[in-house]
Symmetry: C2
Subunit: 427 residues, 2 copies
């Protein structure tokens, strides 16, 4: 489809927070081909399959949900208000043990619908059954970077399986990619981690992982190895080709230096961190150190929603609280994290800003709603008072997948709801 947007405000994010007024954006196939002021030729509409008059609404890059476990939708509201250990060992793990690949396929589809309502155009997913996840995301049209989650016993051939997934999921479908990953330091033996470091060396690839989410995790690692998780894994060569730390709540200055040295990114998940009482990540300090930051929702069992607007407010709000300074981590920094910097963190360099040649991964924000009025500052409106109700359209790879509250994913949403409900009902 060739689509022309006109009468748009456009926040490309290629030029700071400048907004093009009365702008025009063209999409051909899966790419953006033009961004600029509205053209005047009278016969312009003839070239387009569709012309969309945005009436002053805003086009901007879609949000990148840089850490999630989509398949956990079946657990939403099933196990809340529990202490972390009760939650994990008495609720999450026993129910997860019953999941089939097909269950994960259904639950991932439900999550994708929710991402679309929140303007998410790419996810970084870590969960069981990578091929089922790829099937769901490719079918519905979601851009997905998956990562491995090594844990347990490598004697089970898990590292070999990860090599196989790395080779079979990368380069096969334009929406899908796969990164090396370990679940966390605390869920692996040293032998596992050493085996993984060899694979890193062989593939020369970054490693994604849960890192320093809780104080307890860090303390136990120091007891085991005399080092923080970041320092210990670095000592094994795990980050020689970079990496991505999910959470990064409890880190030292030395940890940050290691991350900076290896050009690693941090993904912050504030809603999950407060709901599980894990703490507040030192966002301002990361920014001072020049470490790239993205934002994730974490999974629906711990959050429980997959809404980047809530996350954005929490990133800035919690930073202000943590630093005891209402000027800390302003709205501009947060919007960069949720979009451009998130894209860069998870290796989606063609889906970062809006520019000709970039992937047409974009959203339309409805400014004609009371929470977006008056228009004193659009970026601050989005970060401080924005809501998923303002997402008027979500486009991924040039396809309109969600518009005006309706899904266009080639499947009936009620059937997706039923399939997901069935997963938990039969347990």
């Amino acid at each position: 489809m060739n689509i022309r947007f006109c009468n748009a405000r456009i926040l490309t994010m290629a030029d700071g927070m400048n907004i093009i007024e009365n702008g025009e954006l063209h999409v051909r196939g899966d790419k953006i081909t033009y961004i600029g002021s509205t053209e005047k030729r009278e016969n312009l509409t003839r070239q387009w399959d569709k012309t969309i008059d945005l009436k002053g609404n805003l086009i901007m890059p879609g949000f990148k949900n840089c850490h999630t476990h989509s398949g956990m939708t079946f657990l939403r509201s099933r196990a809340d208000d529990l202490k972390l250990q009760d939650w994990l060992f008495n609720e999450v793990f026993p129910l997860e043990a019953k999941l089939t690949d097909e269950d994960i396929y259904y639950c991932t589809k439900l999550a994708i619908l929710e991402y679309l309502t929140s303007g998410v155009t790419a996810i970084c997913d870590m969960y069981l059954s990578p091929k089922a996840i790829a099937k769901a995301t490719e079918q519905l049209g979601m851009r997905c970077v998956q990562c491995g989650a090594l844990s347990g016993d490598v004697g089970e051939g898990k590292v070999e399986k990860m090599r196989e997934l790395y080779n079979s999921l990368n380069g096969k479908h334009p929406l899908t990619s796969y990164r090396l990953g370990i679940h966390a330091e605390y869920t692996n033996t040293k032998a596992n981690l050493e085996e993984m470091a060899k694979l890193v060396d062989e593939l020369k690839a970054p490693v994604y992982l849960h890192n320093s989410e809780t104080a307890r995790e860090v303390e136990e690692c120091k007891e085991r190895y005399g080092m923080t998780p970041t320092a210990f894994l670095d000592s094994l060569g795990m980050f020689n080709y970079g990496g991505v730390s999910f959470h990064g709540v409890h880190v030292t200055d030395e940890d940050m230096d290691i991350m900076k040295k290896h050009n690693m990114s941090v993904i912050t998940n504030p809603a999950s961190n407060v709901k599980l009482a894990s703490g507040i990540a030192p966002i301002e300090r990361y920014l001072e150190k020049g470490i790239n930051i993205g934002i994730g929702t974490d999974g629906p069992a711990s959050n429980n929603c997959l809404d980047m607007f809530r996350e954005m407010f929490l990133v800035t709000g919690l930073a202000k609280l943590r630093e005891n300074n209402a000027a800390a981590v302003d709205a501009y920094r947060v919007l960069e994290m949720a979009t451009v910097n998130g894209a860069r963190a998870i290796g989606l360099d063609d889906s970062d800003v809006l520019a000709p040649g970039k992937n047409a991964d974009l959203i339309v924000i409805d400014l004609h709603q009371p929470n977006m009025q008056p228009i004193n500052n659009i970026v601050k409106n989005i970060v401080y008072s924005g809501s998923k109700s303002n997402v008027k359209m979500t486009m991924i790879a040039g396809k309109i997948l969600y518009e005006n509250g309706r899904f266009h994913v080639g499947e009936d949403e009620d059937a997706i709801y039923r399939d997901a409900q069935n997963v938990i009902d039969k347990m």
Copy 2:
């Protein structure tokens, strides 16, 4: 209008968190007349002006936004990311000084539209120009409890003016009431407060106020009077007929005992408290003491949105963080605060639960959206993953004011947006 809802799930909140399945709710005029299972008579529809098949969606009491400054919408996104003193003295106060009664009327109307999108059926508003606020809320159909905001110099006849407002705004319109109020301890002289305490004695009425929002405010009061604001005001007899503390972030056990003794309520405003780096209110401790709690958004200059879903998540999330306990302040307690307990805090005893004879102040939550699926626990879905996008209908006093994204307030929303924009543009 006589309206019949059928095929509804109904959370009356008169019976804990029990939900009536396949329920029926009738509204005649401004009251609820029936709640129960669906009636079978074939000619039932003939009696109704409108029958609404909810297809399994949920009816519940509307949210009570128990602390706001609606007229401050003109400042939304105008002054963020500033330290509190800069924000207040360099931005808020100079711009507020230019506001006319008419400006506040326009800005309040904008806020009312936003409340409706978030399922708010009553507000407790503290702002300049009470008569302009009453005009706006009565015209658009919002239930509004206003409170005074004594500050400055009582020599200007302010206490007399409050008595006049108390008499002229109470009992005149079914949607409007007015309570005594002082802005805060720190914005009043002792003479003001003594004068106010006399009025309390005369009218035998509770007093609403900003109380112990910041640590600095408490410290300065202790320097002035050797007591916390709560203790000092109590010593003047200010709370002899009860009262409502907005914020209540920095309080002692003795403060809580005073509140409990006078049957006072606390209104927590978590988004504002994090954005201005004021701190986290001790919600769990208030609950332990048996003190009634409601929830407010505070004004759009400090929040910046007027969205009770964000507030609900923050109440539980921040409590979990503060107590370092993921089991703290669960979803049930939070939903009670946002609805029933909020209503009781601000004296709206006829708008608390859903029951025959109560005001028809209710909302419909759309469960047919991905963030409400699967249905493991509806209350937890609302508190942990709910969003204003789930508000399918907002009804106040039997009138449908918002339904399926459209307003029915008798005025064009674009005109309201324009009038509010004009207020800030002309400054």
